[in-house]
Symmetry: D2
């Protein structure tokens, strides 16, 4: 089923960008896990547009928990997380379905559903549905025990940022970026692109810390395969790398192999956190690459279906010129959901 | 379940590298699909070591079809593909489980299974199990109709090869590489590495042609998520990219967006074959990056578990110094299996 | 996952009897199916307690459709059906968890969840969650095309009722029973049991009409296995029979075998509607047997956990003295959900 | 997928009655479980036809374990259980597909598969595939720890047998029946039916002992729903009952409710072993009802498809006149497989 992720802990997203609501149903969470509402609000705040200068759509994002939590703890039953939609302006999408936007899934979606899908604002394909992912990932924080997931925006255009910095100031906060100097340059770039009506590609780097040795399974239920599936489902993702990723292609085995150390963890600053689908005890490094957002203010040529001709299209409204800043908390949430699923498989969810 | 891939068309791998047999059980294939034994043999031949100068292990790989095919056609029931093991030399693995190999999953696997796994030759984690994938993917060829998948070795170390070449000669054949000039350089590199007892990283590029518009679903059952999961499960994969992949990070939206053309396909040589999880009608470009093989002849330090000390380990036997050449047909097979699953979901499997 | 039914069309129930809400998330419904709100209200009305003299709990059951339906048609995305709880009186359950009720799952549930479940009113085990099933089954009505499902209360205690009657009058309506004479006797019995503070067992008979030949699969995805699973999940179900059911045990093959007729349907009034998991074209007859409700007003002895002694327990509130009347629309809904799942598997959902 | 049962422990059946082989692939069994070959042979012997006077087909049933077991213990990877076919006489089925047999699934199966299925001997629908179930269930015996499953033939025609007897002598052995006096009458009946060329219905009773409190989940992953699905998939099953089953319909709540006793188990000889999908600690009683076998020697009228007329059909070969004796070990195996799946879900598989 396209809207579900996970086997033993399963999240199902629902809602449409311009419908009544969006949210997630989270099934398989063990009973007795504390759920912290403050943290849930903070997590949702990190992905919220508007306050960030990145998008003009204001989303108050009041998230209701309508089942599965009793007296502050999970009951072991499905947890319904619901957010009503408020600020959608459907008039911005009057050109659909006649003029499918370049870089968007309007045409494949209309074709696949025989025209029945609600395409306004991307419908159920909209990045707005990541709200349910973030809410569900937040609810699982305490279930993961010592395992921590941290993600930041590590690249916008050709500006790269260090994971290991001390985030400080507005640029770091607005961009979910750990590196002060890079964040300031990035913010400059983002502002100039917004002015120009254009957008730019970006990357998120995530680290998973404290995974015990041997989480995940060889082959298709492995750490990397499970994470790759979940992360590639984030809208606009175009690639994912684990450990040294594409850099490993130019390395020799004698250089890439990590020596197992006396504490049964591979030695080295950049030692691989996963081998053959299973965690090694070293931190697992992940990078997700995003294309530039397809909605740009610059007029574009595109097919006009009724006439069969290419015609100019100008997309109204204001849109994010870059994805990674808002995607960082989504990457974290997806990692948490998948780690929970893999831990539950071996009976280790707290 | 870790050994299964797919929902409506599902392959389950079984077997151990040094056990009695390896193979695959393929469930969900519609009745009446022709199965071509000649093609099955050729497909298995492409991933076979030995003849290729890449590995010294001879594997005759006689594949039996023990169920699900009747009078040359599928019956609609599970297809059992079985290959007996013959040439395994277990004496090469006497150092296990005491000395987990650097870069291998011996230690996570022993930990995860409480010591019960058969670690010889990598056990069920061995690349030998990709044989079942290739066999299963081959059986599905005719079920895919016009959809074609082609993969080649596109990079070894820093030597890159073009997809669009005309493969010719031993180097192209041995390396499953389309580019004559690059393949000859690659072969030179591989031979020198074998001599040095070292290994090197590599990449496979695959193209999926003729996917009709709208195959795959938004979110978790999307083309890219499903392919990413399957491809990252190939042993030693460290990253996967779709379309322009990591290159998209430094692009602008105005440059990356593909205009929808009059035939309802995005225009451009490198137009994206998938948007939001669904096919666009353009060819889908995929790259998979592999680390250098971890089994090298150069002596390495590693943990000796009984003493808790690092001790030198010399791994005997001869091993592949590079992965992509033999992984190319595996990448093809995984793509076929996943496309079949997605087509079946929409009732389009031939 | 315990709260989900179906593979290609999947319903997940959520909510707790005394929590904020109950409902269902329905995934996998094709795009473009008309959804009739009037019919949804009628279907919910049939399972509603209160008006029926069967239960004193008033449930207005206003069902919101919060996603997946746009302009009266399904969008192909998850459909969220939500009903807020209003009339629950939690003070009636002060004896839990100390005194587990005879015939109820309080103790297994508290044990299984380590005490974290919300046991009030049966928590997530409550019959109130069948509301989600009925709503989801109703939404699928138009997706089933010509296939019709009808169920009625066919037995209460030793009073049996005919399926083929013309329901008329209050007794038939209140009891969801097709047989006027039997329904009047049943109503008499139910009233006397309510007065006596006791309860009684009952059965539902369902017929599925117009299933095309060959729906369902042999073995575990068969019609009977799939239906049996779904129907046995209805609270208090103790048995399920298909076709001639238990009566077939005393029959001979020469008597039980149904001759295939010229129109490729088995001949005979009671011909089997399913063979080997697949539909035959004849109507499929199903019976589901329910135990007497465990909540009775008569004082009962039961374990008092803190003291380890048996002590008397008097359960307050008013409870249904019989299950089949309200279970009939639930049986219908479960049949619809499962038929939709099996039809979707073969690409036949309208 | 129609040929798979279970989620966390999953068995997939494969093979055709008159193809090369039958067997099962069992995935999800934890590593380190001892596998006893002697017991496997005995379990297969109990379902074997031929020696039993019940069927004339001799099946030596030499079962190979081709993967997933190493040095007598499970490795945690898929276990391939394979039995080659030997004694099939395909000439007995020359009337197919022209004359679909009364009571058989030939016509639905041919329709469903577009004529591509191998119908000889029932193809993949054949009871012969229960061999894989019995083998898989046998392999799981040690994984279940103290949980024991015992089944016997409890009814043939109107002759009923007691579960609690001491089986002794040929009749008990041949019929898998615990009750000496009943078994002798049953054997007499079976012999007379064989002589007359007819068949008769029958029932299996199973008891599951020592299930700890709280195994199974409410709703669709409950004990009864999971068992009902698996048991109704056994060819010819027409009904399944749990606890007091259909008898509960005529009982009052005050009579049916089981008091929780001081040891936290319901009191009473016939106390319910499952409530709301979860085990209570009392033994769980199950009955499965089978129709008379449809293959009878008496000539029958049936549709001749090419002419569209009813014509007489005489089915050659010798066939079982009753199902329960050979189904008893299959019922046991299905119960073991499902209990293993539910125990694994809560991390309790030994």
């Amino acid at each position: 089923m396209g809207m579900s992720l996970g086997d033993s802990v399963r999240v199902t997203l629902f809602g449409e960008s311009h419908g009544s609501a969006v949210g997630a149903l989270l099934d398989g969470v063990p009973a007795g896990i504390p759920v912290n509402i403050e943290t849930l609000i903070e997590d949702l705040e990190r992905r919220r547009p508007g306050r960030r200068l990145l998008s003009a759509r204001a989303e108050p994002d009041d998230c209701e928990i309508l089942s599965g939590v009793y007296e502050g703890k999970t009951t072991g039953y499905p947890i319904l997380l619901l957010v009503r939609n408020k600020d959608a302006k459907s008039r911005d999408y009057g050109f659909l379905p006649d003029q499918p936007r370049p870089g968007h899934a309007d045409l494949p979606e209309a074709t696949r559903t025989g025209g029945a899908a609600d395409l306004r604002g991307g419908g159920a394909n909209s990045g707005r549905l990541t709200l349910g992912l973030v809410a569900a990932g937040s609810v699982l924080r305490d279930a993961l025990g010592d395992v921590k997931v941290e993600a930041h925006c590590c690249q916008i255009g050709s500006i790269e940022a260090e994971f290991g910095g001390e985030p400080e100031g507005e640029a770091c906060t607005v961009l979910n970026c750990n590196d002060v100097a890079a964040a300031e340059q990035m913010l400059e770039l983002v502002r100039s692109l917004r002015k120009a009506g254009d957008s730019v590609g970006s990357s998120v780097e995530a680290m998973i810390f404290n995974l015990p040795l041997g989480v995940g399974e060889p082959w298709f239920e492995g750490l990397e395969p499970a994470l790759a599936r979940g992360l590639m489902a984030i809208p606009a993702a175009r690639g994912v790398e684990f450990g040294r990723g594409r850099e490993a292609v130019t390395m020799h085995g004698s250089e890439h192999n990590d020596v197992w150390g006396p504490d049964q963890v591979p030695i080295g600053d950049d030692a691989d956190g996963a081998l053959g689908g299973m965690s090694t005890g070293a931190p697992l490094r992940i990078r997700v690459h995003f294309k530039p957002p397809s909605s740009i203010a610059i007029p574009q040529m595109t097919l006009h279906l009724p006439s069969g001709e290419l015609r100019e299209l100008q997309i109204g409204g204001r849109h994010d010129p870059v994805i990674a800043p808002r995607a960082a908390p989504v990457v974290e949430a997806v990692c948490r959901l998948i780690i929970a699923d893999l831990l539950q498989l071996r009976g280790d969810l707290v």
